[in-house]
């Protein structure tokens, strides 16, 4: 069911059709509709609202209520291009209006200056396609501020000595501290680090139509029932619809971008819920379908003049996939934390954001956060220390003691861009609509694995300093599953080494724009959504300017 006040006909040539209603698509819809353009947003998932959300862990986490369905949308995986990919679920993304911003953790770190200029600073790394961005932190700063104020981000400006400069404080104070945050803050200070209140895209104060966080405890993976999580669904999409010029059209699975004989995009072809195919005509097309589906859609749109996929003259569509690196350390404490109450993260530190490439000899860097994001079923399955009985009285006793006394330290870090790490079309497997399935090719760069092991060892030291009664850390292994879908249509000035220009316009098709995780040139240190939204606000400004200059040939 659409909530939009306007409904366009597919034969109406609207100004923009946007594919995807998530973090980027939602912002672009709101900005462009506000600027006077007629916009249709095509979302493959349903239009759910707060009343549809539930704490039913089976429905949400096992039955993919909010996310892509591996049964209807199967994937294949391989480590290197010389292997044949095997069918296995290898990624998750939001499949509903609001996209992944509905279920995300809501860690909203800005990228730092270094993330945009790292290649220039560290030089060439063998086997890595590290590149500098064509824009800098200073270019993006006003848009980071805009994200914080428009979608609603809680935080404390100036609390971290490692933070990049900012033009305005946060619009609201940090969320309350959790027990994991108190433990982490005290122990990491003891060790000389600089913990601070985590910036979170969750309201600490109410806004019109939205409650402040009520600390219900079903946050990561779940949709927020009170609109406190600053998803596109709760923040920008209502504003887009309020303009009366934006239609959010759910249950539309776009599978092709149509072009004319001049190589211009004419619209997006989609299956509706009855599998009827439609072409929504538009003067310009924007893909915000995420870092997996955006490149897939370009590859699916291959035609006679672009046999390797639309906008793919560089051959780089789908390449340089960066899912971020990660590691976890678990600790159990003597007294009750009750860390199931609240959102996931209340304290982080960025002392390792920019590691010395000589000592400890890693490229990139990362951040640590204190959290507990494991809901009851997942906890019983995987939250107990290795060696704990899995049934009987011992199992029950461990559940009773540990659920309220466990916390995690999560290490997040860089993925270096490696060209063979990619999304592509599987040559054999098809999805339930008969379209080629997504194939993921991925092998972590050894630097990233070593860095995560190093960071995990620091996390274990913090748990020691905190006096944890028990602690453990699952070994860092090569990843075969991606949450963050970044870098697969990278931005750059040179059409030979990038897919989009600094205005998010594809080098090859003058009225086709891409804006989502695929646009990122580097992966930052693990929390990409803030940057994706800042890029979307900036892209909306650039696209508006181009349209008003008559510089988007339709």
């Amino acid at each position: 069911m659409t909530q939009s006040k306007v409904a366009y006909k597919t034969s109406d040539e609207v100004d923009f059709v946007i594919v995807g209603s998530g973090a980027a698509g939602g912002v672009l819809a709101k900005e462009l509709a506000t600027n006077g353009f007629r916009v249709v947003v095509l979302e493959q998932g349903p239009y759910l609202t707060e009343a549809d959300f539930t704490h039913n862990e089976i429905k949400v986490l096992q039955q993919h209520f909010l996310t892509n369905d591996p049964l209807r949308q199967p994937n294949t995986f391989r480590k290197t291009p010389d292997e044949t990919a095997k069918k296995q679920p290898c990624l998750v993304y939001g499949r509903c209006v609001g996209g992944s911003s509905v279920h995300f953790t809501a860690n909203y770190w800005r990228f730092h200056e270094i993330d945009f200029v790292e290649r220039g600073k560290v030089g060439e790394i063998p086997g890595v396609g590290l590149a500098d961005w064509p824009i800098t932190y200073a270019d993006l700063e006003p848009y980071y501020t805009k994200v914080e104020w428009e979608v609603g981000v809680s935080g404390l400006a100036g609390a971290s000595p490692f933070d990049p400069p900012r033009s305005k404080p946060y619009p609201m104070p940090p969320l309350p501290v959790k027990d994991s945050g108190v433990i982490f803050e005290r122990a990491s200070r003891k060790l000389g680090y600089h913990p601070f209140p985590a910036p979170m895209a969750i309201l600490s104060q109410p806004r019109p139509g939205r409650s402040a966080c009520v600390n219900c405890g079903f946050c990561l993976g779940f949709g927020c029932e009170v609109g406190a999580k600053s998803s596109s669904l709760s923040s920008v999409i209502p504003l887009a619809e309020k303009t009366g010029r934006c239609e959010i059209r759910p249950n539309c699975y776009v599978h092709r971008i149509e072009t004319d004989k001049n190589g211009r995009a004419t619209g997006a072809v989609y299956f509706d819920s009855q599998r009827n195919s439609h072409l929504q005509k538009a003067k310009a097309v924007i893909l915000s379908a995420n870092g997996a589906e955006t490149p897939r859609l370009l590859l699916l749109s291959a035609n006679k003049s672009s046999p390797n996929g639309l906008a793919n003259s560089s051959g780089l569509v789908g390449k340089y996939l960066m899912p971020n690196s990660g590691a976890i350390a678990y600790g159990v404490f003597e007294e009750q934390l009750n860390d199931y109450k609240g959102f996931a993260v209340s304290r982080i530190f960025h002392d390792f954001y920019e590691l010395d490439t000589q000592k400890p000899a890693f490229y990139g860097g990362g951040g640590l956060d204190a959290r507990f994001d494991i809901t009851p079923i997942a906890f019983a399955m995987n939250g107990l220390p290795p060696g704990t009985p899995r049934w009987g009285k011992g199992f029950k006793k461990a559940l009773h003691h540990n659920f309220t006394r466990t916390m995690e330290i999560f290490c997040h870090g860089t993925s270096l861009p490696v060209e063979s790490n990619s999304f592509s079309l599987d040559p054999d497997l098809k999805d339930a609509w008969g379209l080629p399935a997504l194939r993921m090719t991925f092998k972590d760069h050894p630097n990233d694995l070593k860095m995560m092991e190093w960071m995990q060892a620091r996390a274990m030291e913090i748990l020691d300093a905190a006096g944890a009664q028990a602690k453990w850390s699952p070994p860092v292994t090569e990843q075969q599953f991606a949450f963050h879908l970044l870098g697969t249509c990278r931005m750059g000035k040179d059409p030979k080494s990038s897919v989009i220009d600094p205005d998010h316009r594809t080098h090859d098709v003058p009225n086709l724009f891409l804006c989502d995780g695929s646009s990122l040139v580097t992966s930052g240190r693990g929390q990409p959504t803030m940057t994706i939204q800042a890029l979307a606000y900036r892209a909306a400004d650039r696209i508006t300017a181009l349209a008003k200059q008559g510089a988007i040939p339709g």
Binding site: L61, V177, D179, E335, K341, M381
Partner: protein, 209 residues
């Protein structure tokens, strides 16, 4: 300090009745004094499922799978989202009863064995099974052909799911993990944040930049 706490609480009171009503309907269905009818399992099968679930999560001073109504959750799951597991249950229960009689002659079925015997049987069954991939941290759904593994997963689901999902009767499972069933919380949450003075810059700031 919790900014917006009062306003948030007021909002919940105003906006949540529909959410709460749905959750309460689910709870009342389970509190009904009439014994619910099984939709898929026979009475005999339900007895064995109850007995197996009660060894995975036994009843002691705290409720177990029986008090949480796990068997009703499983029966309803087999009728709905887990219907493809019906043959696995049918064959698995026969196998468990056979093994019981082989191991303990004169004991006709699993539910008639003593607790100690039941534990031995389940341990033997687990040992016999090939090691399957453990569920991952964020995805406990596994397509397993191993009956004991599947009933283990279903028992945990039925024990710990929010009652909105048809299990965890009277929040029996959440009593075991010590989770307060409330829908909203205010600080202090636990032991360690009591008396927290609010975030302050570190006393000796070492400027690293």
């Amino acid at each position: 300090m919790q900014a917006g706490g009062l306003a948030a609480a007021a909002w919940v009171q105003a906006q949540w009745p529909s959410v709460m009503a749905a959750a309460q309907r689910a709870h009342q269905a389970l509190r009904s004094t009439q014994p619910p009818k099984f939709e898929v399992l026979t009475a005999e099968q339900a007895q064995e499922v109850t007995a197996i679930a009660a060894r995975i999560l036994p009843t002691d001073e705290l409720p177990g799978a029986t008090e949480a109504g796990v068997v009703y959750f499983i029966d309803h799951a087999l009728k709905t989202f887990a219907s493809d597991a019906v043959p696995l249950y049918q064959q698995g229960l026969v196998l468990v009863n056979q093994l019981t009689s082989e191991k303990y002659p004169g004991v006709p079925r699993f539910s008639a064995a003593s607790s100690e015997q039941q534990d031995e049987i389940l341990a033997a069954l687990q040992k016999d099974q090939p090691k399957e991939k453990r569920p991952t941290r964020r995805n406990s759904y596994i397509q397993s052909s191993d009956f004991i593994q599947v009933i283990w997963v279903h028992t945990i689901w039925g024990f710990l799911v929010d009652p909105d999902g048809g299990g965890n009767r009277d929040f029996a499972g959440w009593k075991v993990i010590d989770r307060d069933p409330a829908h909203s919380f205010t600080p202090p949450f636990g032991f360690y944040d009591q008396g927290y003075p609010g975030w302050q810059p570190a006393a000796q700031e070492t400027e690293k930049k």
